[in-house]
Symmetry: none
Subunit: 202 residues, 4 copies
DNA sequence: GATGAATGAGGTTTCATTCAT
DNA sequence: CATGAATGAAACCTCATTCAT
């Protein structure tokens, strides 16, 4: 049976509510422990409606990832736009970037965590996530190129790949890692690491 | 039904074969998509035997994680022992450590990924994995302390936490990230980053 | 909800379009694998409209069978009317009849098959089909009676029942049977059989 | 999940009971109106057992057709062997063949009816049924060849195809056709038709 | 003890029909 | 009216675990 493309406002709302319920559930209990009936009733609709708007459970997962990526991307862009790169030294700039990224990821922290590991299970999610990462990497590379004279790295392409991934992983660690160690100390240490790596002279 | 503790060699072999079959399956298809019958028949035994050696499906998972941690740990230790820290500069040492870690993780790359996914599902696995990480972190801290005079980091505790996690994540990236970028270039860049962070003078 | 009886041309067209869509679908995928939404969208109308013109799914099926029977009957009659019985020997006449029947059935070959399948599921369809058959049988009987002197069969009633059924089944065979054997040879042989049976002297 | 191949007698019995229940149900209510739970409970087992032995509903249908074909084939062979062709005129021989075929088909009359129409829905069933028919046709051809001198048909190949199909269809008619007309009269008329077609002189 | 058959709860998915807008 | 969203019963199928032989 084909999925329904909502035409009236009511249908659009229902679809959105189901999607949000799915994201909530996946974040809370993980993909495999969530069942479609729960997703539906979490959105206040019967199962039938779930299958009216989504082909199957995988389908909502894909939609959720899409939704999440778009959300994070727009968040990061919004935050990044507030940074005034001109007046900042590298260390301060890094601090802002990392803090912004943390903020951006805190919209749906557990969902992020859930999909990070589904990535390797499902090629569709992988492709989807890679697109987001590529976009972010390109942005970083542009920034590095602008600063080329004041930084020590030469291969800005490979460097931006490394930085992006490292920042992403670190944020993941900060958000999900147990708080045994002082968060701020860790962040400072991390920024110190990046700053050493990027700054021409210490 | 009590779980059987194998006493003769035959029983030990059977249990081990089931465990290995489980690890293989979990790595290939993930925990939730693997069923006990498959695990059993992958080991060449009937389902009944599975339940003779393991309480339930979760039980093999725990055993698998234990087994994996022990394996990786002993692998890393074996590799690490071959390093002669005395004669090495920081950069060469880091190179060795990273390469060893990559080698150590390549024993069962997909299983590692699966566990990372399951950590959030099961507190027992979380605890178990954390123990391994703590052990590794402690080792790193000891090493850093020995080198205290020749490195720039001061808080060796927080630094070792950061390094361990960063290395771990980077290896994960190297193993699962698609090889769009030159692996060796990425590794060199990563080592460069760590080296800048650790070395007193560049 | 009452079934709407269309009064203006627009409504009549819609009902007809739904009916034709249903016949098409039933023929292609069978009654049980076709759903009302498909029928509706095949006619370019929303499901709601389907239920405006037909009480339920069974209802279109009945209408389809009716429509089909009428269609075939009028087809056969049209074809039959072109035969000039006066100038023909039995063999030539049979040839014309069989060929006409084949042509008549080729309008919706798969739908015919589907109905045959459903006959056993639904008494209404059975009755409906039987009426058509009775009508055809009566026609055959009349023809046989007219030719009584030149044919060898005596009980024209039982003979027309046999002939009708045999022709019907043979056509079904010709249309659905795989073409491993030469179609024309088979038709000739079949006509030979009927002709031997009917002709007084060979 | 793979289907189970029963190794112990108990399992073999269970599978057979499920198969027989399925045949019974399909015959009574038709394929689409029978559900797997019913089939299972008709065999006195839970659904799980059904799916242990059969991949899905279609799978039992295939198995049922196989089983049925084998049954009919052995029945026909048994009956046919009792005919002493030497001492019989064509008419008596035909009478025996038709009567035997009717008897053979009465093992599971409704099931035969059900699958006849599923044939065109499912290629697997089609192939399967065609094999049986080809076998029967070959047998008929051999018989015709033996009698070549005393019969009027020349192309025994095409003739046997026609005869087999015609007999099959007629039996179907006799068994499922409503008894409005005298069965024995119809059979006699049918034999008359075949006999005219086959006999050299009437 | 070893085997593989049995169990059935629980998950996924479909769709005829109704009904609100 | 016309539309398409909502409903939920009922079908399909899976599998961890137990248990009889």
């Amino acid at each position: 049976m084909k999925v329904r493309i909502p035409k009236r406002q009511k249908g659009i709302n229902t679809k959105q509510r189901i999607l949000e319920s799915a994201i909530r559930m996946f974040a809370q209990k993980g993909f495999y422990k969530t069942n479609t009936k729960e997703i539906a009733s979490g959105a206040g609709v019967p199962v039938g409606s779930f299958y009216a708007y989504f082909k199957n459970k995988k389908d909502v997962l894909y939609a959720s990832v899409d939704y999440y990526n778009t959300l994070i991307a727009s968040n990061i862009i919004n935050f990044q736009d507030t940074i005034n790169y001109e007046n900042l030294d590298i260390r301060s700039m890094l601090k802002q970037i990392v803090n912004n990224a943390i903020k951006a990821h805190q919209v749906l922290p557990d969902f992020h965590n859930e999909i990070t590991f589904l990535i390797n299970t499902d090629p569709k999610i992988k492709t989807n996530m890679e697109k987001s990462i590529q976009y972010a990497t390109k942005k970083t590379e542009e920034t590095l190129n602008k600063m080329k004279d004041s930084i020590r790295v030469k291969n800005t392409r490979i460097s931006s790949v490394l930085i992006n991934r490292t920042v992403e992983d670190f944020i993941h660690f900060i958000i999900y890692g147990k708080p045994e160690y002082d968060r701020n100390l860790l962040i400072d240490e991390f920024i110190d690491m990046l700053s050493c790596y990027l700054s021409k002279s210490q």
